[in-house]
């Protein structure tokens, strides 16, 4: 198991019902973790509409998770 910290924003924060959490997961990659959480919490955004940041930088979905990682799933942006 890998223990990671997650921070949620915008629609995902509302669907998760909280801004952050620490959790232990068997997911090997960021994509697998998103799939796991999407199913558990009913996230409506398909992974194709979401980006991931790991430790403060955009990352590839197939990045392997390591204990201590901080992840943010990034819904479609809408600044301006």
């Amino acid at each position: 198991m890998t223990t990671v910290t997650l921070h949620y924003f915008a629609l995902l924060r509302e669907q998760r019902g909280q801004s952050s959490e620490s959790l232990a997961t068997a997911a090997a990659t960021a994509a697998a973790l998103y799939a796991e959480l999407a199913q558990r919490h009913g996230f409506t955004l398909p992974v194709t509409h979401v980006r991931v940041a790991i430790n403060g930088e955009f990352a590839a979905w197939d990045t392997a998770l390591r204990t201590g990682d901080e992840l943010v799933f990034i819904p479609p942006v809408a600044g301006g």
């Binding site: 819904p75 479609p76 942006v77 600044g79």
Partner: protein, 153 residues
Amino acid sequence: MTFRISSEPLDPNALAAQLLDLRAGAYVEFQGRVRNHNEGQPVHALEYEAYTALAEKEGARIVAEVAARLPILGAACIHRVGRLELGELAVWVGVTSAHRAAAFEACRAIIDETKARVPIWKKEHYASGASGWINCATAGPAAATRITPPAPR
């Protein structure tokens, strides 16, 4: 060269003063304000949220990329977060250059790239009491927003 997220109201005159440069014959500014409608619906207020650490990092990259491509002297972009009322300033971009063409083009590029790349989200609150996160619709590509019905009274 600056990119910043602000939870405080923006003062365009103070921001413009920071870009004073006697080498600059051109100063171009963009103000993005809260509009009272979107996609045919009356809008009541907006709420902006940002992943500030990454937003400022990505925003700084945008300003640096534009400065590397165009002969500009100075550039800054500041984006608000929090709840904004109609007419309030949501985003401000200022660019200086010796001649106008580069300043116009750089200003346009900075706001366009900011909208496309920086992790900032916008929730519209409609006059009907409903609200929705822009670009987060999942009903289909044509829908711009996912509408949450108003809470029962």
